[in-house]
């Protein structure tokens, strides 16, 4: 069982309330997008969900087990990818298996052949098999983030969390990375929670959406309920013109400049 239960979660940093009594449940295998402006509590929520932060009040459970510290079955993908730039893509992916290997074995790269093939498999999933031996610091931002995804997959997780995985990427790489995340979660039946601040990407890739504003949950619903009013609720009264990508665009992560221009020209809403 790897459903996620967030139960009355409150997190305070001194006087600041980052999360205020947030509760929801994610059934196993669902792909959830957490939306909100910067400072709305998205990062804190995800960091609590994988145990990097301890909740002030409330509890998070994966299946029936409460989360108290980072553990291998909850994989995390970071905004700044946080891969080790001095190592190549393959070695980075292999660090996902650290918890299954002793210190000396992992230091000398003496993991089992199964672990090593799994690392290459994960790189294949994110389309980087040919770049496996390339040094991470010579890779583009999008490629580095994909190495981060590969590392997460090698952990053999049941839950996949991603904290603004595309915030520092260009639109093309963003779509690509989101596409790989979606595919990987679907192929392996992972329960996934991804935080985003781009509405168009969220609409394109999400099934279910959770909206945060000032640390409170202001929306929780599926695709059909996710409309203009909801966006106003989550983002406040901002100019949302051109925020929506047209529906029905190919989900393969390719960039469609003409498509997004169309969206802007026609007001971009409700197509």
């Amino acid at each position: 069982m790897s459903s996620i239960t967030v139960d009355g979660l409150t997190k305070r940093f001194g006087e600041t309330v980052a999360l205020d009594d947030v509760s929801f449940e994610i059934p196993e295998g669902e792909f959830v997008i957490v939306l909100g402006v910067s400072g709305s509590g998205k990062s804190t929520l995800l960091r609590c969900m994988n145990g990097l932060e301890t909740p002030t009040e409330g509890e998070i459970r994966i299946g029936d087990t409460p989360v108290t510290e980072p553990r291998p079955n909850i994989a995390m993908i970071f905004q700044q990818h946080n891969i080790i730039e001095q190592m190549n893509a393959y070695s980075n992916a292999l660090t996902g298996s650290l918890n299954r290997n002793t210190f000396v074995d992992s230091l000398l790269q003496r993991q089992s052949e199964g672990d090593k093939l799994q690392a290459l498999d994960a790189l294949d999933t994110v389309g980087l098999l040919d770049e496996a031996q390339q040094n991470a610091q010579q890779m583009s931002g999008g490629q580095q983030q994909r190495v981060g995804i590969a590392r997460a997959l090698v952990q053999d997780p049941t839950v996949l969390l991603a904290d603004e995985p595309v915030a520092s990427l260009d639109p093309g790489s963003s779509q690509q990375v989101m596409g790989y995340l979606r595919t990987a979660a679907a192929e392996r039946g992972l329960t996934a929670a991804i935080s985003l601040h781009q509405v168009n990407l969220a609409r394109k890739f999400g099934e279910r959406f959770i909206g945060l504003r000032n640390g409170q949950k202001v929306f929780d619903g599926y695709r059909d309920e996710f409309d203009m009013d909801v966006i106003d609720q989550v983002y406040g009264d901002i100019d949302t013109e051109g925020m929506f990508a047209p529906d029905g665009e190919a989900n393969d992560g390719s960039v469609d400049d003409a498509g997004s221009k169309r969206a802007v020209d026609s007001g971009g809403m409700g197509q």
């Binding site: 553990r71 909850i74 080790i84 650290l98 918890n99 040094n135």
Partner: protein, 310 residues
């Protein structure tokens, strides 16, 4: 031209401020001069009576530089030969196979002292350097290791030479400190990422922290190696062997030509070590690790030639 009173006032204030600054500077200069005078007095500089030693010193100078002649063309080639004779007789550069000073001669012994000291000191420097970091050992306890390294540094290598393996000990103090400082600069991100993979503490330190600093660690180790070769020369003078010892023996015999020949070999040795180390370090900085050490060394003559032709 008439000016506003506010402008005049501001001008006066600036003039005053500059005068005050000049006065403070002048007083500072006088204090410095007085301190300098007292320093010279306390080291007995005025009792040394330099003029009486001058003729001796000039004689010694002639021995130091035997290739300088008093008459035209002011160069005496036999002087250079005298240097070379001593260098080859004493096996300073080349010890040959199976001799008393194998292969690299006395210079090799000095180099070996610096190298062995660096290799012996490295593991403890790494251990203390890592344990001295506040991220690895919680706050008050990391100062046990920092304090230990400070104490080692407080005693100069020459003094360690009178007690215990000097270069290795000195390396633990200095290199360890550089490691600790370098570890303060690393990013939190990769450490957190390793936490989320479920890594244990040693894995967290190795992959999350040390992997971020391998390049600077190698560069600092090479830098300490350069310094250690220099320390090896000084240790020779107090009896450690190698070029330093040759130097002190010849000085005792008042063979100034031989002394200068030894100094020249020291110069060549230190500069060679520095050039090689600098080249490796700059290659590491540029992230050329891929081309490897072998390629680096093989390419060295070519790069020197290219640089010379520029």
């Amino acid at each position: 031209m008439s000016h506003d009173d506010t402008v005049r006032d501001r001008y006066k204030a600036i003039v005053l401020a500059r005068r005050v600054r000049a006065l403070v500077f002048g007083v500072g200069l006088v204090v410095l001069a007085v301190l300098f005078y007292y320093a010279l007095i306390s080291v007995g500089f005025f009792e040394a009576n330099i003029p009486t030693y001058l003729p001796n010193f000039l004689n010694a100078l002639r021995d130091f530089f035997p290739f300088l002649a008093p008459t035209f063309p002011f160069i005496d080639p036999t002087g250079v030969v005298a240097y070379w004779t001593f260098i080859t007789e004493q096996n300073l550069i080349w010890g040959g196979f199976g001799g008393d000073t194998p292969l690299l001669g006395e210079a090799g012994i000095t180099l070996a002292m610096g190298f062995a000291g660096t290799v012996m000191g490295f593991p403890l420097a790494l251990l203390f350097g890592v344990l001295g970091s506040g991220r690895v050992t919680p706050f008050p306890f990391n100062f046990i290791f920092r304090g230990l390294m400070s104490s080692i540094r407080a005693i100069p290598a020459l003094v360690w030479g009178l007690i215990y393996i000097p270069i290795a000990t000195d390396t633990v103090g200095n290199l360890g400190r550089l490691f600790t400082d370098e570890l303060e600069e690393i990013e939190d991100g990769p450490i957190e990422a390793m936490e989320t993979t479920g890594a244990n503490k040693p894995q967290l330190i190795t992959f999350g922290m040390l992997s971020q600093v391998t390049t600077p660690f190698i560069a600092w180790t090479l830098y300490i190696f350069e310094i250690n070769v220099r320390i090896a020369v000084s240790l020779g003078i107090i009896g450690g062997g190698g070029l330093g010892q040759v130097l002190s023996v010849q000085q005792g015999l008042f063979r100034f030509t031989n002394m200068m020949a030894t100094i020249l070999v020291i110069l060549v040795l230190i500069i060679s070590v520095e050039i090689v180390s600098q080249r490796i370090r700059s290659a590491l900085r540029e992230g050329d690790e891929a081309q490897g050490l072998v390629a680096l060394l093989l390419g060295f003559p070519q790069r020197m030639a290219e640089a010379a032709l520029k």
